[in-house]
Amino acid sequence: MTDTIAHLDRSDLDDLLSHDAVNDPVTYYDNVRAVDPVYWNKRWNGWILTGYPEVVAAYRDHARLSSDRFAGPFGEDLSAASSQYQNLFGFLSKFFVWKDQPYHARVRSLVNKAFTPRSVEVIRPQVAELIQSLVKPMIGAGEVDFIAQFAFTLPVIVIAEYLGVPEDGRERMRRWAEDLGAVIFVSGHDEDRMAKGEAAMTELVEFLRPIVRDKRTNPRSDLLTGMVRAEERGDFLSEDEVIANAVLMVFAGHETTMNLLANSMVAFSRFPQEWQRLREDPSLAASATEEALRYDGPIRAMARWAKEPLEIGGHQIAQGDRMLLVQYAANHDPAGFADPEKFDITRSPNRQLTFGQGIHTCLGAPLARLEAQEAFKALTAEFARFDITETTLSYVPTVVSRSLRQLHITFHTS
């Protein structure tokens, strides 16, 4: 290990979007962690946390580590862009994931009940049925575009129904989400990216506003109706806040689950015996999902900044310092997991960090889990094996997400 590090150019470690960082994150983050689990990245101008205990501690320290992307050092970065792209930043700034307490908890508590394991369990039969309708056309179909036909379609339909948004807008929604994702997942400024993000946000808000207004006169048992009722009760949510958080859920509800499903297929292709195990014992779907989340989860990292000085991993973090909490790296830290490069669908314990920890832990986690569990059950039941037909796997260069550009697969029933 020491020899390997000695040959590494330290400046390579500071490039979060280098070819290796994007395409071989396990090795890249292992190298960063070997230098220091709390590493100062000169180029990013902040701390990169890659150790399991350090990432856990940081995620749980919401009192000192802010998620507010529109204040502190991140706010300074955005101030010029936010005056130019007013819809984009006006609505992004209302995302409750990027708010601190007490505002965050108040908004989360409004939608929390809809996303508990108990609540999402109710839709399991419908999700299983939807999955069947997506699996059947892949039988004997030869090579399929797995993301377009399955990994994208499943979560976008589920979240649209859950929110109460017509799913006929889903192709447009995919483009909007891609354009917003380019802004949300990539740091730095690129005029084209910002202009596309502004256009996407404007269109998405125009799409959602009449739907939100309709919930007032035609209430249903969906999430948007719940948020509108909270607004009408005077629970501090303005119409724009309802829309902003609907945008957040449309986006968060499918982008990440899509990547989880696609990345899982890559994991199973490397460990085909695990596919067989699941095929023989579908009761392993829940633990297989946890392992898929750990082994190649859809989220690499989330950013924070220090509201006050603190010590972490033996380093003094100054007020105003940026931090990147890399759960993808923590999920591969031997300090957190025995034999981390083994994809073991029965791994126990498995305290994977893909959903984060603490107050900002992914709201949609129970829904994502349910979708993945049912997808794995249905796919392994139907198909004895599969081949990934990409010559090389290519990933979108982002700091935050682990996102394949495309994934073509041929499924075999025997």
Partner: protein, 67 residues
């Protein structure tokens, strides 16, 4: 009535402390701990269990598990 928070499942989201402010406090690791001597009602305790995003809270009464 009594409750127990599983630290295998708790990840410190804190919804329990909103539903039942007198019943839960957070330890040094940021995980929730039930406060038997705190000020809480049975309804609040059940609401905390039902609101938990990781189903980490078990509620008991007279030895039987309610949640």
């Amino acid at each position: 009535m009594s409750a127990r928070v599983s630290h295998d499942r708790c990840v410190g989201i804190g919804m329990c402390a909103l539903s039942c402010p007198g019943g839960f406090e957070f330890d040094d690791a940021g995980l929730s701990v039930f406060q038997p001597a705190g000020t809480w009602t049975s309804a609040e305790l059940l609401e905390a269990a039902d609101s938990c995003p990781t189903s980490a809270i078990d509620v008991f009464s007279n030895g039987g598990k309610l949640r």
